[in-house]
């Protein structure tokens, strides 16, 4: 997928002016937040589970080499194949190779962010293999030739009316007069269209929420059941997962599952949690004949041991974006790559480079809600700050911002001068405020005052007031 993160400002401006998007984003603001809160309040152990989940992931990351080896040994012992990919390109070629040797024309896919990250669909299409997304909304996204705008609700930016229009356009073999006014009808139609695809597909590709070292299992979590049909009905099941998905045991998986569904959709447990180990066994009447795991690094190992290691605890629940005022305003596409919201603002520069991620670490009000709801207690604001520092060090931010910051730093280091300048500035602004006591235009702050007035300062500066009060 082409990265448009450097155009974040322009993307955001367009998003703010898009009425349909703004209507759809209203659903994020209300739905997700209340549901999460209700589920969290109903479980007294939730905070303790967060700490437990965080400790498990930290432990797994700290010993990732050994757990990867243990996991691999178990997959092989259960009759599966393990492939290692250092880069996205390696991963694409490995997957294409598996599809080719299975003689695949069509592959079905369960929802997976990692296959978005490695831009698998475009690549398979270029090579004559048709990928079919089976998750209802991924399917809609694919019909629209768009990319997900949310990691767990990829079409949250699409309205029901738009879905209806897409279905009428693409399912043109169905009667024109059919009623598609209710979500039930839309879902039913997608279900029927996709049913046959599962049986036609030679290869089923899924991601993994967890790779379990103890048993060599991959775990997926869905509500629709599409991931399961994808992996049971394909002749070959390919699991695509990045290295940090490793957890030690099934018990550890259980701990993290408890915080995952609650943080994501406010469910105690997603409808289907599926643990898959190896291919079909002797005597099994169903299941894939081959089981492959493609383990991808693509930048993760470079995050280990760095300021950004904590980000590797992320379980892709989406809570941070559901609670983010910036995401609420501009939606996921403005972020310009696969991962939106606060987690994307941290992860995108780590994976594609801070020079290509542009303004993302600045797409934050630092209100701290993301960190407070993150089930894995990832210090997202702190890491965005780290990126801002690196952006500054490498002179990647605009000249005006750099000079402004430098001037401010010069003053801040000289308290007497700072006080003199701010006191003069204040008097000046106060004068400009006139009788209205408000400014409709601010020097150097024109874009701020374009949408609201600035209250004129009154009285003396904070420091002077403090000094005055400190006197006995």
């Amino acid at each position: 997928m082409r990265i448009t993160s450097p155009a974040f400002k322009e993307n955001a401006r367009l998003a703010l002016a898009d009425p349909q998007l703004q209507q759809a984003l209203g659903n994020v603001r209300s739905g997700f937040i209340d549901k999460r809160e209700t589920a969290v309040d109903a479980l007294p152990e939730f905070e303790a589970l967060r700490d437990s989940a965080r400790a498990i992931k930290d432990h797994a990351l700290q010993n990732l080499d050994l757990y990867l080896e243990a996991y691999e040994a178990k997959v092989l012992a259960s009759g599966g194949h393990v492939h290692w990919a250092e880069t996205a390109e390696d991963a694409r070629n490995i997957i294409l190779g598996i599809c080719r040797s299975a003689g695949a024309r069509t592959v079905t896919k369960g929802k997976s962010m990692i296959t978005e990250e490695i831009a698998l669909n475009e690549f398979l299409e270029e090579n004559g293999i048709r990928p079919v997304e089976t998750d209802l909304v991924e399917y809609i996204i694919q019909l629209r030739r768009e990319h997900p705008s949310h990691i767990i609700a990829p079409a949250v930016h699409v309205t029901q009316a738009q879905v209806e229009a897409d279905f009428r356009r693409v399912h043109d073999h169905l009667p024109v007069a059919r009623d598609l006014s209710e979500p039930e009808a839309l879902l039913g139609e997608a279900r029927r269209v996709l049913r046959s695809k599962y049986f036609e597909a030679d290869v089923g590709i899924t991601g993994a929420n967890f790779l379990v070292a103890e048993t060599g299992s991959s775990v997926i979590v869905t509500n629709e059941g599409n991931g399961d049909l994808t992996q049971i009905l394909g002749k070959v099941h390919v699991v695509v997962a990045s290295i940090e998905k490793i957890v030690p045991t099934l018990e550890d998986t259980a701990q993290i599952l408890r915080v995952l569904a609650r943080s994501a959709t406010g469910q105690d447990m997603s409808v289907y949690t599926t643990v898959s180990t190896g291919p079909r066994r002797w005597g099994d009447p169903d299941g894939p004949a081959e089981y492959h795991v493609v383990i991808i690094d693509n930048g993760r190992s470079a995050m280990l041991g760095s300021d950004f290691q904590d980000m590797l605890r992320c379980i892709r629940c989406g809570a941070c974006m559901n609670h983010c005022p910036v995401y609420h305003a501009v939606g996921g596409h403005a972020y310009g790559w696969v991962y939106p919201g606060p987690m994307g603002a941290v992860l995108t520069p780590s994976l594609v480079g801070v020079d290509k991620a542009g303004h993302l670490p600045n797409a934050s009000t630092f209100c701290g809600r993301c960190e407070s709801v993150c089930p894995m207690k990832i210090p997202l604001p702190r890491m965005m700050r780290h990126w801002r520092e690196r952006e500054f060090e490498r002179a990647l931010n605009p000249a005006a911002a750099r000079y402004g910051l430098k001037a401010w730093a010069f003053l801040a280091r000289r308290p007497a001068l700072y006080q003199a300048v701010t006191a003069t500035g204040m008097r000046l602004l106060s004068l400009l405020g006139g009788r209205k006591r408000r400014l409709s235009w601010l020097p150097l702050g024109g874009s701020w005052t374009k949408h609201r007035e600035f209250p004129a300062p009154e009285g003396s500066t904070f420091l002077r007031q403090m000094k005055a009060r400190a006197r006995p």
Binding site: Y67, L68, V137, P183, L187, D228, D268, V271, T274, D297
Partner: protein, 223 residues
Amino acid sequence: MSPRDAILAKVRAALKTEAGDDARRRKIMARLRKAPAGVIPARGQLPPAERTELFCQMAEKLFASVHRLKRHDEVPKAVAAYLRARNLPAAVRMGEDPRLEAMPWDGLRAFSVRRGASDGDDDAGVSYAFAGIAETGTVVMLSGADNPSTINFLPEHHIVVVDAASIQGDLESAIAGVRTHFGRGRMPRTVNLISGPSRSGDIEQKLVLGAHGPRALHLIVVG
């Protein structure tokens, strides 16, 4: 260097550790063997009767329907009644689970039982759960000839028999059960933890039951 070794080398360099760190390896292997339990919610820690009660309540909250029976030989009649009440054909798909085969299906009139994996043409399927989990109203299904996984997903109506005695308080106890059954570190091809019928909330966040999996999940709790 193979891609595998290259990735592992990068990971080790980042973690500042060595491949031959035997003390660390022993610790990791011991943790894998011990599989320590973490925080277990108090919610499911109940005596058996109340645990079964909680299981049923939680499942109903997820829009599963629940029917409680005293004896196993009552199951076929209950299945037939369920189908009749929904105007469905008197036919089910099921695997070779001996506990299902021991039930008096022959006693039903004009009722057909199709054996084996589902081919997608079944309106209703019957499976036997390995366990239930009271904490979340979840059933634990194991793949294999006894209860083929396709039956969990393809029929519109999935009817699951759950022994009350198999209902555990929490997810960890159910995992321990699977481990005892198959042996440490060994697993069936698929373990499906199922909590309610399939659903989607993705079109403008409106909840619709029956996405790709069953539209209805009917639990028959015996005992």
